[in-house]
Amino acid sequence: MLEIKNLHVSIDNKKILKGINLTIISGELHAIMGRNGSGKSTLSHVIAGKEGYEIEGEILFNGESLLGKSPEERALAGIFMSFQYPVVISGVNNTYFLKAALNAKLKANGQPELDAMDFLSLIKEKIKLVGMDESYLSRNVNDGFSGGEKKQNEILQLLTLEPTFAILDETDSGLDIDALKIIANGVNQYRNSERGILAITHYQRLLDYMKPDVVHAMIDGKIVKTGDMSLAKELEKKGYSWLID
């Protein structure tokens, strides 16, 4: 479903990604592991369509090129990104925000939009899945949320919007073990044979709960090694230095 071909990305003439090739098919969960500054987050944002990058190469989603499409077009096509740093939007109610997002999707798909009552019953079901209290629904988007709460909120959005492809950008960073389990559990509920996931992380911990199909090691803007869960364990044990010539 997602095909990245020879992707080169730079910001202000500084090369960040240096020829990424990656193919993810429906039902697969790929993990990309790497140190800080290896280009993992840049890859997420480039897929999501953030502006400000110089891009060469190709990104195809279900056979169609994503490059040149706006972030919202990509979102409506089914791409979701769980942010490493979810953004605070003061004054905007969390429920209202989620409803606007879901209705934008329904509208784009030519489906009827949900009214406030229907949405509320839907969201009350979803929020149980991520172990959040209903009081979060009446708070403003990420306003005053702890790091863990923000990530839970991202997963709540994932489960509500049900995209076909999810990028989890360091969704595990800053989480304690309980929160980690909840997040992983939420992701596992999202997962099915129709959907693809790209999880970006420093650590193996999250992967223990999510069991990726493929694990990639990324160093200095390149995928240097690809394997299965055992690669993640090896990276955790030995670090990344052994992969550098």
Partner: protein
């Protein structure tokens, strides 16, 4: 960010059309004969003419104020026609109203008939200077409520006009108020008798139509002892290439235990979005007096229109325990300039005032909050809470805040909070990534910013206000 924003600061005025109705119009110019002519057309009693002439002579001695932070070319007061009225007058039902006029209302989304039947809102429609349709009058009469065009009240209730006119905003108050007092042609009059809770929201739709004709509205609302009234005022105007002067005066009088809630949605033509040319000049004096104990006056305004806005709805808190409130959302986009705020004057004991002001600037819009809180010597235990928040969209707009505080009684409690924020690129991106378009994201964030004020509006107005913000900001961020 600026590129994104510029791309979208582009919005055509949706209500830009002119209705072709024959007008009775006085030639341009202002002198005592013009004032006599207006008074005569209106068939006014002697005391009104005297008051108008007194105001005119006062106005001649005054100078146009220049302290507001707005910039506009000099106004030629002799180039303005001071009276314009649709030819048909004194209609008893909608059937007699010019169908073209009714069509205008339909274009504005204000179908009178539907409103009559469905919404329970009585409408005193001010079309240019003469009111041509008044609805729900019978229902109101049952409760003893008087709600009619000002000129009609001059005929039917001259004693009330004589007693209250100019008591809150004297003819000497300021340049524009003096001008209004001299030449005003119509407006609304409301009287709520003792102990009556007005059975419906009272609403007026103002509309400026005739070219080069200044609009001078005069509104007077009196809430007698223990009464309650909620009054809604909403405006849109046709597209126009000439500056149109609007100098309205609104006076509110609340007696003991009475409450007046006055809500405004103002959306006059803001001028050409690319050049700023041709928008309405809106110089308004609005003031309410809480005359006696436990009275309350609450102003809520949503100001999105006009090229120049000069407006400070204020409260004189004379009665002990009286309450004044001001909730405002003002938006300036493109070349709009607004200098707006409020004045709360505490005279009585235990008087309380609340000011919540939300200013949004986009494009090259310039906005000033100017607020005055005065606690006088005898106002023991007076309290004020002021909050003024500004939001900037883009890099070419401006927000300015001038709070004046004058406390002459040591028991006063004053609180003032202020903030400035902008809509961040990261917020827009986050919304986009969730499939929300940039325009919807902006309106989501702006409506969130304004919600403390919107919740003060009557339900149907709150919905309209949100829609208006969306329309007014269309394209403010690309």
């Amino acid at each position: 960010m600026s590129k994104i924003i510029e791309k979208a600061i582009d919005q055509e005025y949706k209500y830009g059309f002119v209705t072709d109705i024959e007008q009775d119009t006085l030639p341009p110019g202002l002198n005592e004969d013009v004032i006599r002519a207006i008074s005569e057309i209106k068939n006014e009693p002697e005391f009104m003419l005297k008051w108008r002439l007194k105001s005119y002579r006062q106005w001649l001695k005054m100078e146009e104020p220049t302290w507001a932070k707005v910039d506009y070319p000099p106004i030629d007061y002799q180039a303005i026609s001071y009276y314009s009225a649709p030819k048909k007058k004194e209609l008893n039902s909608l059937d007699e109203v010019d169908p073209e006029l009714l069509d205008t209302y339909t274009k504005l989304g204000i179908p009178l008939e539907e409103q009559k039947m469905l919404s329970g809102v009585a409408v005193d429609a001010v079309f240019d200077s003469v009111s041509v349709a008044t609805t729900f009058k019978d229902e109101l009469e049952k409760h003893g409520v008087i709600f009619c065009p000002f000129s009609e009240a001059v005929q039917s209730h001259p004693e009330l006009i004589k007693k209250y006119l100019g008591t809150v905003v004297p003819h000497t108050d300021n340049y524009f108020a003096a001008l209004n007092s001299a030449v005003f042609t119509d407006g609304s009059f409301v009287y709520i008798p003792k102990g009556v809770r007005c059975p419906m929201e009272l609403s007026t739709y103002f509309r400026i139509n005739a070219a080069k004709t200044g609009q001078f509205e005069r509104t007077l609302i009196i809430a007698d002892e223990g009464s309650y009234v909620s009054y809604l005022e909403g405006c849109t105007a046709p597209m126009r290439d000439e500056n149109q002067l609007h100098a309205a005066v609104v006076e509110l009088v609340a007696h003991e235990d009475a409450t007046i809630k006055y809500s405004t949605v103002q959306n006059w033509y803001p001028g050409d979005p690319k050049t700023g040319k041709g928008g309405i000049y809106n110089f308004v004096t609005k003031r309410g007096a809480c005359l006696e104990e436990n009275s309350k006056i609450s102003w809520t305004q949503v100001e999105t229109g006009s090229a120049i806005t000069w407006k400070y709805p204020s409260c004189i808190l004379k009665g002990d325990n009286s309450v004044g409130e001001f909730y405002s959302v003002a938006l300036t986009n493109n070349f709009q300039q607004a200098d707006t705020g409020t004045k709360m004057v505490h005279l009585g004991k235990n008087t309380k005032s609340t000011i919540i002001s939300k200013g949004i600037s986009a494009g090259k819009g310039q906005q000033t909050y100017r607020g005055g809180v005065k606690i006088m010597k005898n106002a023991d235990n007076a309290r004020n809470y002021s909050q003024c928040d500004s939001m900037l969209i883009g890099e070419q707009c401006g927000a300015h805040t001038f709070p004046y505080i004058d406390v002459r009684n040591p028991s006063a409690q004053m609180e003032h909070e202020a903030s400035t924020s902008s809509i961040g690129e990261d917020q827009i991106y986050y919304c986009n990534q969730r499939g929300i378009s940039t325009e919807d994201a902006v309106s989501l964030i702006v409506n969130g910013f304004c919600k403390e004020v919107f919740k003060e509006l009557p339900m149907e107005f709150a919905v309209e206000a949100q829609k208006l913000m969306e329309v007014s900001l269309e394209g403010a961020v690309g």
